[in-house]
Amino acid sequence: MSQPQIPVPEPDEASRPFFDGAAEGRLMLMRCADCRTWRLPSRQHCDACLSDRFTWEAASGRGTVRTFGIMHQRYHPAFQVPYNVTIVELEEGPRLPTNLVDVANDEIRVGMPVEVVFERYDDVTLPRFRPAGRL
C-alpha cells in the first residue's frame, strides 16, 4: 500500500511561473510592473495600485520565521503529527505558508533566519525552508 500523498496544488495560469520556477530551483514571485509591490499569492491585480501589469522575478530565497505552530490534530492522513506549520517572511516582504525541514519542532523560534529548499512531489515542486547557513 502506498503512502497517502499530501494535497499538492495544481498550477493554474496565474501561478504557473511560480511552480515552474520551483521545479528549476528558483523562488519566482509575481511583482507589479507599475508600483513594484510583490504579489503573493499571484493574482491579476496589484493590491497596492490595482494595476494588472506584472513581471515575474526571482526572490532571494532568504527569510525569517514570522510565526509557526506545531500541529497535533490529524486533519489529513499524509501528514505525520506533530509537524510544524510555518509562515516565512521573505527578505522581500511577502509571506509564504510552508514547513521547515531539517529542524526539530522544539528548536523552531520566531525570527529564526531560514533559506529555501525545494521538494518534489510527482509533478509539482514546492518551496520548503531550513535554518539558514547549514550545509
Binding site: 499530501i6 499569492p41 506549520v85 514546492l126
Partner: protein, 395 residues
C-alpha cells in the same frame, strides 16, 4: 453635541433555542428563536418590518439560512431585508445596520437572526469545521500552498497569531489557561451552557494539543442552535415588556490581507479602530465598562481584543488577565455566560445574547454590574471586527 445614534435604539427582544447537538434544520432553529424573540418583546409577527439574517458556517458548507427565511417565517411587506456575512462580526453588524435603519425611519422593529447546524448525528465537532483537509479535489494555484503545508482549519491561524504574541511580548501558556478557567467558572452558572463542569489550570494544561500553542481548552465549542434579537426605537422600547438594553455606540474595523508585507494581523486587530469609532459615539473610554462580552473563538482572541480596546497596553494582555479579573468576583467580569469556549458557539450572537441577558439584569447568580457593556465580534483570521456598547440606561 452627542452623536445622533447614541441611544437611538434598543434591544427589546431576545429568543434562543437550546444549544448543542440539536438536530433540526437551520430554518426550524431560526423560526424557534424568532418566535421566542417576538413573544419576549411583546410584539406580534406583523409588527416586524425588518429582517437581517446571518447563516453561520452552514452558509458555506450547505444547509444554511438564506433570504428564503422571510417566507418560512411568513413575514410580509418588510421594509428592510438582507442576508449578511462578515463572519463573527456579523451579529454586532446586524444590530448596527438595524439601528441606522431605525434612526433613518426606514424600519421600526428589526429582527436580527443567526442559526447554524454544523453538527450532524454521528460526526465529531472537529469535522464540522475541518474544511480543506477533506476536499477530494486537488487545490488550484498558490491558494493550495496552505493545504500543502498542512495548514488546516481555523485553529491554525489563531495558533500562529498566539505564537507571535508570545514571542514578541512574553505571553505565557498560563495566561491563555487563566482565561479558559475563568470562563468555565462563569459557565457553571449558565443553564444554557454546553460545558458546566469546572476546570482547573492543571486540567487546561493536560488537555490535548490541537496545534501548539493551542490546547483543546483554548478552542471554542461547535454548536447547533439559533439566536434572534429585536432592535426597536428607543422611545418605543421604554413601553415594551422587557428592560430595554440601549445601544450607545458601535464601530467596525477590518484591517485587510493578513499575508501582505507589513501587516501585524497576529497582534494588532481591527478592534483598535472599531474602538475609536464606538468610544467617540458613546462618549466613553475603557475605564467606564463594568463588564465585557468579548468574542472568544479562542482564548487568545480575548487577550488581544482587550489590548486593542485599551484595557491595557499592547503586549500586556497576559499580565492583565493573570489575577483572574475576568472571572467571577474579578474586577472586569468578562464572558459571564461562559462564552464560546464553554457555553455555546453562535458566532457573534454568543457575546451579544449574554450582553442582553446581563443588560436586563437577568443573569441570576452570574449577574455582573451592567451599567456599561462592551460587546465584540471577530471573524476570519482576526480579519473582521465589529462592536456594540450597550447599557440599561438611556443615553
Amino acid at each position: 453635541m452627542p452623536h445622533p445614534l447614541r441611544g437611538a435604539a434598543a434591544i427589546t427582544g431576545l429568543g434562543m433555542t437550546p444549544m448543542g447537538r440539536i438536530y433540526k434544520s437551520t430554518s426550524e432553529l431560526a423560526a424557534e428563536a424568532v418566535a421566542k424573540a417576538i413573544t419576549d418583546a411583546g410584539l406580534k409577527k406583523d409588527d416586524i418590518d425588518g429582517l437581517l439574517i446571518n447563516a453561520g458556517i452552514t452558509g458555506t458548507t450547505g444547509g444554511g439560512l438564506t433570504l428564503g427565511l422571510q417566507n418560512y417565517l411568513g413575514l410580509r411587506n418588510l421594509r428592510l431585508l438582507n442576508h449578511m456575512n462578515a463572519a463573527g462580526s456579523t451579529a454586532a453588524q446586524m444590530v448596527q445596520y438595524a439601528t441606522m435603519a431605525i434612526h433613518a425611519d426606514m424600519a421600526t422593529h428589526v429582527v436580527c437572526v443567526f442559526a447554524d447546524a454544523p453538527l450532524k448525528e454521528g460526526t465529531s465537532a472537529g469535522a464540522a469545521y475541518g474544511g480543506a483537509a477533506r476536499n477530494p479535489q486537488r487545490p488550484r494555484g498558490m491558494a493550495g500552498l496552505y493545504a500543502a503545508a498542512g495548514y488546516f482549519g481555523a485553529n491554525t491561524p489563531y495558533a500562529l497569531a498566539a505564537r507571535r504574541h508570545m514571542a514578541l511580548y512574553g505571553t505565557k501558556q498560563d495566561h491563555l489557561g487563566i482565561i479558559a478557567v475563568g470562563q468555565r467558572q462563569w459557565a457553571t452558572m449558565n443553564p444554557l451552557a454546553q460545558m458546566r463542569e469546572p476546570i482547573t489550570l492543571e486540567d487546561y494544561h493536560a488537555s490535548r494539543w490541537i496545534i501548539e500553542p493551542l490546547h483543546l481548552l483554548d478552542c471554542c465549542l461547535v454548536s447547533n442552535g439559533a439566536v434572534a434579537v429585536i432592535v426597536s426605537p428607543a422611545e418605543r422600547a421604554k413601553d415594551m415588556p422587557q428592560p430595554p438594553v440601549y445601544i450607545h455606540g458601535m464601530g467596525q474595523g477590518h484591517p485587510g490581507d493578513s499575508g501582505r508585507a507589513g501587516s501585524d494581523w497576529e497582534t494588532e486587530t481591527g478592534a483598535k479602530f472599531a474602538a475609536e469609532t464606538a468610544y467617540r459615539m458613546a462618549g466613553v473610554g475603557p475605564a467606564d465598562f463594568t463588564q465585557c462580552q468579548i468574542y472568544d473563538c479562542y482564548t487568545y482572541t480575548v487577550l488581544v481584543t482587550l489590548e486593542d480596546y485599551g484595557f491595557c497596553k499592547k503586549g500586556e494582555g497576559g499580565p492583565f488577565v493573570e489575577d483572574g479579573k475576568l472571572g467571577p468576583g474579578g474586577s472586569l467580569p468578562t464572558n459571564t455566560g461562559g462564552g464560546e469556549l464553554s457555553a455555546y458557539y453562535m458566532w457573534g450572537m454568543t457575546p451579544l445574547s449574554e450582553a442582553v441577558i446581563q443588560g436586563r439584569g437577568h443573569g441570576g447568580e452570574r449577574q455582573a454590574k451592567n451599567d456599561l457593556i462592551l460587546v465584540t465580534g471577530n471573524g476570519g483570521s482576526l480579519s473582521y471586527h465589529a462592536c456594540l456598547i450597550l447599557s440599561p440606561h438611556p443615553a
